[in-house]
């Protein structure tokens, strides 16, 4: 895969190349060249299968990492194309014209992370969470515990125990 990365480096700025396994490499490209780079991989290099499109929230750096995991069915290897975008007003160019299923992924990312993909069909329609008005729930700053404590009432008569102290009392009551 190193030859491929070297070849790609001649026309694109490819950073942070990590060979995770013999059949999986991670690379980072800039937001501006990402879609062009991905369509080059699809059309020229044979990375025809979009395995996943997902995001990772690096809240401490104020960035979202978009992961386009592309698979080459002939060479039997994968490239994880990482694109870092700003967390504030996160937007990214859409890839729905390259793969039909990309619109579903982008719709989900809009809902769960608040990353916008202008032009992607149906991207504003709710996918999983209908009638959700809170912070996009998969962001790191969304506190699921706080949300559930505020939204749902505690069930009466339910006792809570700290597992460590409870087991200690049960097993070693005299200590």
């Amino acid at each position: 895969m190193k030859e491929l990365i070297d070849r790609l480096k001649t026309s694109y700025t490819v950073e942070d190349y990590i060979q995770q396994r013999s059949d999986l490499a991670h690379i980072t490209v800039s937001k501006e060249t990402a879609v062009d780079f991905i369509s080059h991989l699809q059309r020229v290099e044979g990375y025809k299968h979009l395995v996943i499109l997902t995001a990772v929230d690096w809240i401490e750096d104020g960035k979202f990492q978009l992961t386009y995991l592309l698979n080459n069915p002939e060479m039997k290897n994968d490239i994880n194309v990482k694109v870092f975008i700003e967390r504030e007003n996160a937007t990214m160019e859409s890839i729905h014209h390259l793969w039909e299923q990309a619109r579903t992924y982008q719709r989900e990312l809009k809902e769960m992370f608040g990353i916008d993909f202008p032009g992607s069909p149906g991207v504003d329609k709710p996918f999983i969470l209908e009638g959700w008005h809170d912070l996009p729930p998969y962001r790191r700053d969304f506190d699921t515990k706080k949300y559930s404590e505020e939204t749902y009432f505690p069930r009466p008569g339910r006792e809570k125990n700290d597992p460590a102290t409870y087991m200690k009392q049960k097993l070693y009551p005299n200590e």
Partner: protein, 395 residues
């Protein structure tokens, strides 16, 4: 009866599609009917629903609605230590939880640099194949039931129960097993397990002959499934189709062969394919895959060592800090490529887990395309033929 609802081939009065490929539906014209198929329809493989627009009994437009089973697994895992995620991951897919356990454990092991002992790898392979067999047995009932053959579902449930008995014997659980753990598996085969398994396999083989006669050679089943719901070969990469849905178009793609994992390189098998992908051929590919799974279980039981190490040395799981990194691990489940994308930031908690369920592509983009011009009574059969499973979509 108006001409519009006749069954003749004249389509001149049918509505034209707009630039987005959709029709403009004017419900007040009384030509169309909006209808919900699901979430409680018996022909649906789980809780999802289709909002369909009908003209007569023909589907003009469809939108998939998911979210009825959303429990936020991926988010919940970020709040739990790695070992605490194990009771969660298996619940992503009810018919075959073992693929989730394997992919999660394998991703962890890769990041932490742990080598799994050979006996444990054989046992993992065995459990995955048993999971495949039980999932196919669940599917075959759904597929035949969707075309009105309830009896096959009753037989296949009985067969599946016999495999669940073996699961219970080996792992303690019938549906969710939590048998594959980081570093290995939880136990060796009990005494006499292989004999009892062989008995089950013989029974399944004999029953499959009956199912072959009743279902696959049945005129009604053939008439309703041959030539129906065709997947074009070009769609495979365009829509991200994997598994039997892709193999039935003639492409021999199988993760077990293409990206060998566990002990599959030591087993003798070839991916099952068909010439073109209609409901009948997809069903036939799954039937042959099911029988191959029976064969693979026999091969595994013959080749695997009786005793040996089943767990590698791991850190204390309650204080295990997995080294920072990112990886993707995949396995072939009955519906296609199953994968886990894992990101670790070096802490005790996973930074991000993303589950790639094959239904994500099959049930939304692909189904919405295939269902157009399908007859109302064939929707259930078409859905089951894609073998979709909603919890994978919403995780």
């Amino acid at each position: 009866m108006s001409k519009l609802f006749s069954i003749k081939e004249d389509r001149s009065l049918y509505p034209e599609k707009n630039v987005e490929g959709k029709i403009d539906v004017d419900l007040s014209s009384h030509k169309y009917l909006k209808m919900w198929h699901g979430p409680q329809h018996p022909g649906i493989t789980g809780n999802m629903s289709l909002e369909i627009t009908l003209l007569g009994d023909e589907v003009m437009d469809c939108e998939t609605h998911v979210g009825y089973l959303h429990r936020g697994f991926e988010k919940l895992m970020e709040r739990r230590k790695y070992i605490q995620c194990f009771p969660l991951v298996c619940r992503v897919a009810v018919p075959e939880p073992d693929f989730n356990e394997y992919c999660f454990a394998a991703a962890m092991e890769e990041l932490a640099g742990i080598e799994v002992p050979e006996t444990a790898q054989w046992l993992r392979t065995l459990v995955l194949e048993m999971g495949r067999l039980s999932s196919y047995l669940m599917w075959i009932g759904g597929q035949s039931g969707a075309f009105g053959q309830g009896i096959v579902g009753q037989w296949s449930n009985y067969m599946r129960d016999s495999i669940l008995d073996r699961f219970e014997e080996l792992t303690g659980g019938r549906i969710y097993h939590m048998y594959i753990i980081p570093g290995g598996v939880r136990g060796l085969l009990p005494d006499g397990f292989k004999d009892r398994m062989e008995e089950n396999l013989k029974f399944i083989e004999s029953m499959m002959k009956d199912i072959d006669r009743v279902m696959f050679n049945n005129a009604v089943f053939k008439k309703r499934s041959v030539g129906m719901g065709i997947i074009e070969k070009e769609w495979v990469t365009k829509f991200g189709i994997t598994g039997p849905n892709a193999r039935s178009t003639g492409i021999p793609m199988d993760v077990r062969k293409d990206y060998p994992y566990l002990m599959y390189p030591k087993l003798d098998f070839e991916p099952v394919t068909a010439q073109y992908s209609d409901i009948y051929n997809r069903a036939d590919v799954r039937r042959r895959d099911l029988l191959m799974s029976v064969d693979l279980i026999r091969q595994i039981m013959a080749k695997m060592p009786e005793k040996g190490e089943i767990r590698a040395e791991t850190p204390n799981v309650l204080h295990w800090k997995v080294p920072a990194g990112q990886t993707y691990k995949r396995a072939e489940c009955t519906r296609g490529e199953y994968g886990y994308f894992m990101v670790s930031d070096g802490s005790e908690y996973p930074r991000r887990i993303n589950v790639r369920g094959p239904s994500y592509t099959h049930a939304v983009a692909l189904l919405e395309k295939m269902i157009i011009n399908c007859n109302l009574s064939d929707i259930a059969g078409l859905m089951v033929s894609l073998h979709t499973y909603p919890p994978e979509i919403e995780r």
